[in-house]
Each structure stands twice: as structure tokens, then as C-alpha cells.
Symmetry: D2
Subunit: 293 residues, 4 copies
């Protein structure tokens, strides 16, 4: 990690070496930003870079946009993407699509290029696969003017995440979300500790991905957030609380089979930078869940 | 349907014609019961028949037990079961097993016959498929004496259900369970009407069977119980409440995608003759469910 | 009770004897309605009477309005009200006011008569004392035209309640509300039976009136509704569930003193003809309540 | 405040000057403890002092016990108590008793002295008034041996609280409890901010004491805990959440009067050193509360 202080002391060539790939194939953005040193915060640095892009004129912006690879496209298949793009696309599972999904992306990429004359850009780390496809379909309805603006917004989001990964110092950029849970045993009036819980991404109708298997601690919480330190990918998720085993372990009378065994709580994350808390209040015969904070 | 009054007026041959198949291949039970007329209630009739079996001695009881077909066994495959047995076995899905399940039943039937010298008898209409298999495994651990007693108890349950289907008059036999739901919209403080809900049997890890798709009425209930007028098969079930669409239809602000969309409530039925009520209190951001009454 | 059939067969003098006091000091309404026989329903009879009033012209309507006694006024003090009015005013506690309240009514009666030249009329059985006073204050803001209309509406409500008390036959008039409760013990997953509950009217800041002390039955309900067969007086109420004693009686571990002991649930009734259900889902450490149905 | 480091460097006379009144009229405890320096923690210091008392023999312990003033007794009336005792007794409201309560304490003090030949000692800061009286009654049933032990335990608790107030350094003694609340608006799926809440001590059947009036912050919490940094006095409390005004302020449709207006949540604190969290999940038509953590 480079620090903000380091950056502020760099000459232009070191500065461009450090930040040249924040914008895809566009070291000129870093170059144009070097003058603005010293940056008091990462926020100020990010703003300076977006200002540079905004001021660069239409042609240069379009070149920047066009330098991005298609999602799950030719560059991905041929391994010619930048390391950043490769990493980003794999985060949303775009490197392991089914044949149908590949065909869907192919069709959408072509339709989008045909209509707008540029690649479809989205900050994939803020989305699950279904959300990317839904956005793709929706944005095809936009006008060219709107889409050019949307593309820049997404590029700025990508840049912020890349900055967040590479540079440290001062307050972090507001690019992270937070998802946590908490289980209260309202039969005993205490936190439910030692409760096994799976955290699952409902990728699509059929595809489910167990992201984590956690055990609640003495406070009824998990030691680590379910998701933290990164955007919450927009999508649908499920927590599966093994409350049958939990109450059996405490010798609480249950029916056979227990009325409640694995309690599924299904919910969507819609704000990648949001704070979501999804608690469970539970007895062997009842439960309550809600969006907490 | 024959009425209890009709039965009470029948001579022995008509009586046996009417009730000869209440006990599998054992018209002698009806024969021995004819004397006891008039029966004031179905309960009294059922008790008279079980008393006749209890008094018939060990050998005759064993003959009665042995006259029952295996579950998913040779008689089923060859179509030589009584109509009652055929109907009963199909109710639990034993007529549409996978190859693995057929092999499991085959193995268990053989092990059981080997150990106890009689077929495994269970009142299948009180169980889902997984519950039958679990009982099968468990009962293999019993002693011969216990199993003979359990077999009779199950035969009396089968007889009660057959009586309940054929004879009417007075109070019904206590062989039915009841499962219902109720949805309260606590965002608006009113019953949730027009809410689509699926009722699903979780047959096994993989196999799920949508039993019903219902829409709640103005009281937030379903016009018919989810299960009524028959035993509740022991097993695991899921209600899937489409609350995302419901609140969208009322123009309630939700996130995109909605925090809650299809709310799954997973529970087990453990008492076939029990009354289960599984309500949902719901807003777009929270819900509560419990075993009600 | 007179039946609708009886009424339909009566000559005019008997008819007026039976219904002459449905409208205060206005037997002419019954007289004018006699022609309309036979009435297929109480609803039709009530409509015929209100139509007679509506058609009687402004002067006669004003005479009808003026024939009503003040609330907690001179006629009440001197015992010269009709039996109906006396009964009605006492239902809302207007016969047992504090000196301050008497002064408030006196002031409001005078202000109202001064502004509108007629007595303030309200169907008192649909209100608690605080609601009457609040309505009194609010209606003083109205114009004369609005108030004359409101007065007639209230007179028709009074008439409907008097008819409901005197005449039976066919469907009842929609003048009744319903208030009930239900307690689910979600610690054990069963209805809470034998639970002591007080039902209290919060008459005003200081004044509380224990209306009923009930014990839940095996279904966790009360044998009788908390209020039924009459309008629900608009006002504030409290249910006090003695759940500490209930769980102690079942030997459930609680803290000392118990975390929850007497659980107060405070709510308002706002629709006199509404159906209110106020359930409690409770463990020794948690509870949920809601407007049910 | 004196620090632990200061203490560890003191000669005996300074040490006794600093800690002589930790035990009521018993500077000899501090004296005997001085040798044990340096104390690595407050816990170690407290243990050393209790060890000194334990080792001092029966006569000296009885003298220590007897040096304590009666609760609400002659010393209190005449103003001859130590400053510590005065402060402690007033914390539980013993300096502002009704005549009936004074008579009750008088009767109990006499009965206790008669039976045990010593004053009744209780760490009053861990109790509300009703809890002190209940303990008084209960402990009168004990044997002399048990009571002498209980008296010492209470003296050690008093000493711990006095140490906690006077000395700082390292980890604090475990003498504090914590009470907090949190309001979630499950109508909107967000914390309820700006919600007015009263925190009330239910001192006795009639007497209620509004301890705090707070307004929830943007997280739906209060900026300060309801009680923190001191023991939670055992007793009964009520939170009164003004949810009618809260939802009216957000233009949410409610009935008139609102179904829920001021929501009372009544609960007991039973563990003075416990952590209690009492959240509310609320819509205009429903709420849930529970002992959280």
C-alpha cells in the first residue's frame, strides 16, 4: 500500500506510475492530477481525478469509455484484460458463467454497442450477476446522452474502489457497505451463542452459493461482519439459522421433528454502500426478523 | 357413504359387506363386531372393532399383521394390493419413488421381515415420505414384543381412517388435523388480502412439491385450510409469501430490489391430528411468525 | 323485544306506541313511517325513518334537534330527561362528572347554544368522555350549516341504536363493534390459558376505570369479547396482562423480580363499529402486540 | 480522584487518610492493607481489604457491622451519618420517605435489631426503595449466621462502590450496570430518530419518578445510556415511547385517535451489574420489545 503522504511527495512520473491504472488505459488522468498535490484526503484526490476527466472534453471521455472491456466478452475469453478488470469481473462471477449466461452477455453487449457505439460499463463489484443483467437490460432503454453520463459515473465508482485498494491515509472513501446479524434467544432472554448459520447468495433461480458458514459468539453476533470492507453486491441473499440444533443443545423441549429447524431469512441488498443489520429474535416456536441498523 | 344408522340396522352379511375391508383381508373383525349393534357413535364402533382384534389371540393377530402388503414392495409393483392400500401408499408418494428410494425400502423391508418375521406396518397417511423412512429405521431397533404392539396401533389408526371415509353419522373420529395461515399487514394495520402464497412440501433435501398456490381473502386468510379433513402428514413444509408484489400493489415504497420479496417460512408438522396455525405479521422491512392456534 | 314481523302487522297507533320514542320527543317520525310497511329489514325501517326526517323540512328538523337535552345539563341535573337519554348519557359517565368536568360541559353547552342556537347533539354511546369533549371543542369551529347536518347524522345514529335495542328480526343494524384479545405463549408454543388480564378504560390523564378482569381460556382467548354487542366508545384503553404470574405458575425460570410482570398494552379505539383484535405473543423476555383482525 | 499509582507510593498515614472511610468508621482496614502494596489493580486492592476484614475475627467484624447507621433511622434524622452513608441513602430516596414508609423502616429496623442484635446493612445503591423493603422483610427470616455473612457481603459491595468513586487506574471494578434502548421504525425500515421517550421509575404502586426525558438520535438510540457508570437499582421501570407524535411528524396515516400513541414498556431490573438493552420495533399498528444485549 502506498500512503497519501507518499503520493503527495512524488514527482510526476512516480505519481503516474502509482495511479496510472486507476482509470482504465488512461494514465493521462493521473498525469493531469499531479499538479493538484498535496491532497488533504483521498476524497480530494478522487475528486481531482474526476474533475480532470470532466474537463477533458467529449472526445477524450469517449476514448476512456471505449477503452473498457466488454463484460464477459472477447478480452475476457482471450485473457487480454487489465489485471484490475480481470479481478473485478471475477468478483461478480463473470469468469464462470453458464453457456446461457455467456449467450445473454453476448447478445446484450452487441445490442448495447449497436445502439450506443461504446462498451457497457458498470462497477461490477457493486452488483451480483443478476443485478448486472437487470441493469444491462434497463440501461438499453436509455438515450445516448443519459448513457454517456451513466458510464462516467460508473467509471468514477470503479476508480474510487481502485484508489481504496491501493492508497491509504486519513478517512477512507465511502465505498464500503456492511452486513451483520445478531441472534437473540427470547426463550431464555439472552444472546444465542454457538448457533450455526449459513450465509448464502441466491445468485439466480437455481444457483445458490454458500458464502460463509459462521457460528455466533457469546454476544449472539459473528466475530466478523458477513460482508465488510467492500461494497455489498446488489442481489438476493439468505441466512439459514440452525435453531433446531441450537435449542436441542440447550435441552429445550421441541416437537419431533422440531417445529422450527433451519430458519431461512431471505432478503435483498440494494445499497452497496449501505449498513444492513438483519437480526433474529427466536424461540422454538416463533421468530421475528427485521432490517435493523 | 353409509350412515351409522344404516349400519345399526344391517344384518350380519350386509354389515360384513360394508365393513369387511376396514381391516386388511380380515372380514372376521366386522363379523365379530356385528353383535355389538347398535353403536351410539363412530368412536364406539371403532372401539368394538379394536376390542375384537385384541380378543382374537396372538395367532390371529399375527395373521392380520401378515396380511398387510410391504411398503413400496412386490404387491405394489405387481398391482395386487387392496384398493385401500393402493390409495394409502400413493398418498405418501410411495407409488412414485426414485430408484434409490425403492432400494432403501427394499433393504428396510427385508431387514424388518428378517428381524420380526412380519411386514412393516405404518399408517402412511399420517406421514410424509421422509418420516416413514425415519420411523422405519427407528422401529428396526425395537424388540419383537414392542413392534407387535406398534403394528396393532398402526392397524387401528388405518382402520379409523377407513371408517372415517366410509361411514358418516354423529361426531367424527378424531383423525383429522388442521393447518391454516393468516397474514396481517402491520404496515397498514389491516389483514393482507390478495397476497399470493405457495404451500410447499419439502419432501427431502432435493425434492420439493408445491401443494397449493393460494391467494389470501379480505380477512388475510385462505378460503380453505391449507390442510383439513385429513391427517397432517408428519414432515417439513414451507409457506412462501409473495410480500414484495403485495406491497408493490399498494404503492408502498420499497428498495430496488425490495428488501423482502418472497418470504419463506419453513416449519415441521409433528402431530397429524393437531391444529397448526402459522401466521405472518409483515411490513416491507420486518416480519414475525409463530405457531398460533 | 318486539319483532319486525310484529311491527309490520301493527296498525298506526300501535306502531307509534312501539317506535314513538326512537326519535327524541318526535312520535311524528314513526307516524310518517307507518305507511311504508312491510319493512323487509331493520335497515329498511331505519332508512324509512331517516327519509321521513329528511323530508320534513327545515323547521321541523330544527324542532327535533332542539328537543334533545344538553349533555350533562339542566335536564340531567333535574331528572327530566327521557329514559333513553338518561341511559345513554350515563353510558359515557356523564352522570358522574367531576366539578371541573361539569364546568367544562356548562361552558361548552353555552358556547354552542350561543353560536348555533341549538343543543349539541352527539351519539354518546359511540364515545368515551374525553372523545365527547374533544368533539365538542372541534365542532364549535364548524359553520351552522355543517353543524345542522352533523346533528342530524348523530340523531340518526342514536335512532339506529334505539331500534337495535327494541326491535329484533333479520340481520342486525351495523351499529356494533367488537374488541377481543388472544394470548399466545411463544415460550411453549401454545395458547396462554389461565392468564389474568385487566381491561381498563383510560378515561383521562388521571382517571382509570377497570372495565373487566378476565382469565384466558384454553384457547388463550376470553370467553366473551372484551366489548361486543354495542358500539366501541372512542377512547383510550389498556390491557394489563399478568404474565409474570402466568409463567411462574408454569415454573418457568424468570429473574427476581421478573423482567416482565404486568405487561400493559395501551391503544385507542377510533371506529365504534370496527372489529379490533389486540393479541399478545409473549415469552418471559419479549412480547409482540398488533392490531389484528 | 486519587490514582492507584499514587496509593501504591503512599506511606501508611497518607494511605489511611485516603482509604480510611472505605469501610464505615473502620480505618483499621486501610491500615492493615497498607503492607500489601503495590496493588496491581483495583480488584487486588479490594480483595486485600476484604481479606483484612475476613481475618480480623468475629468481634471486630461485629464492631464493623454495628458501626453502620440504620436505614432511614435516627442518625439520618439527626444528620449524624458519614457523608458516604448520607449520599448512599439519598440515592435510593431514603431521605424523602412518606410517613408510612418511615414507620415501615422503623418497625423493620427494630425487628431486625431485636432478632440479630445489629443494624440491617444493604448496599442501597444497588436497589430501589421497594427492593430494599422486600429484602428487609426476606432477610428477617434468615438465621443469625446467614445474616452475619450477608451483612459482610453487603459491606464489601459498599466498599467496592466507594473505591470506584475515589480511586482510578487500570480496569474498573465490576460494579456498574448498563441500561439502553433502541427504536427501529419497521414501517419505514430505518432507525426512529427524534422520538421522545420518558424513562420512569415505578417506585411503588402509586409513586412514579420520571428519571429522564430523552430524544432518540439518528441511530434510533439515546446519546447517553439510560443508566450507566453505576449499579442498576433493582426495581421496576417503564419506558414511554411517544410513537403517535413520531409517526404524525412523518405524515404516516394513523387513526384518530391513533391506535398506538404513547407505548409503555414496563420491565424490572434484577441484576445491578447487568447489561440490559430494551429495544422497540414499531409501526403505527404493532410493536415488539425484548430483552436484548
Amino acid at each position: 500500500m502506498v500512503t497519501l503522504d507518499d503520493l503527495n511527495r512524488m514527482d510526476q512520473s512516480a505519481f503516474v506510475a502509482a495511479l496510472g491504472d486507476i482509470f482504465e488505459h488512461a494514465p493521462w488522468v493521473a498525469e493531469a492530477t499531479h499538479n493538484g498535490r498535496p491532497f488533504p484526503s483521498l476524497q480530494a484526490l478522487h475528486e481531482a481525478m474526476t474533475t480532470a476527466v470532466r474537463g477533458a472534453g467529449d472526445a477524450r471521455q469517449m476514448t476512456l469509455i471505449s477503452a473498457h472491456p466488454d463484460l464477459a466478452g472477447k478480452a475476457a475469453r482471450e485473457g487480454t484484460m487489465t489485471a484490475d478488470s480481470e479481478h473485478e469481473q471475477s468478483s461478480a462471477g463473470l469468469d464462470r458463467l453458464s453457456e446461457d449466461e455467456i449467450a445473454a452477455f453476448h447478445r446484450l453487449n452487441n445490442a448495447y454497442r449497436e445502439k450506443f457505439g461504446m462498451p457497457f460499463i458498470i462497477c461490477v463489484r457493486r452488483h451480483g450477476k443478476a443485478s448486472i443483467l437487470r441493469n444491462f437490460e434497463r440501461r438499453l432503454e436509455n438515450s445516448s446522452g443519459v448513457e454517456q453520463e451513466v458510464a462516467l459515473t460508473e467509471i468514477f465508482r470503479i476508480a474510487a474502489l481502485r484508489l481504496d485498494e491501493r492508497i491509504e491515509g486519513g478517512e477512507r472513501l465511502p465505498v464500503h457497505g456492511h452486513l451483520s446479524t445478531h441472534v437473540l434467544d427470547t426463550h431464555h432472554g439472552q444472546p444465542a451463542s454457538g448457533l450455526v448459520t449459513e450465509f448464502v447468495e441466491l445468485v439466480s433461480g437455481e444457483e445458490q452459493l454458500v458464502l460463509k458458514r459462521v457460528v455466533t459468539n457469546r454476544q449472539g453476533r459473528t466475530d466478523e461482519p458477513l460482508i465488510g470492507g467492500r461494497p455489498l453486491p446488489i442481489g438476493r441473499y439468505e441466512l439459514r439459522f440452525h435453531i433446531g440444533d441450537y435449542f436441542a443443545g440447550l435441552d429445550v423441549r421441541q416437537s419431533d421433528p422440531p417445529f422450527l429447524d433451519i430458519v431461512p431469512v431471505r432478503f435483498a441488498l440494494a445499497e452497496p454502500e449501505g449498513h444492513y443489520h438483519v437480526p433474529l429474535l427466536v424461540t422454538p416456536w416463533s421468530y421475528t426478523t427485521y432490517r435493523g441498523s
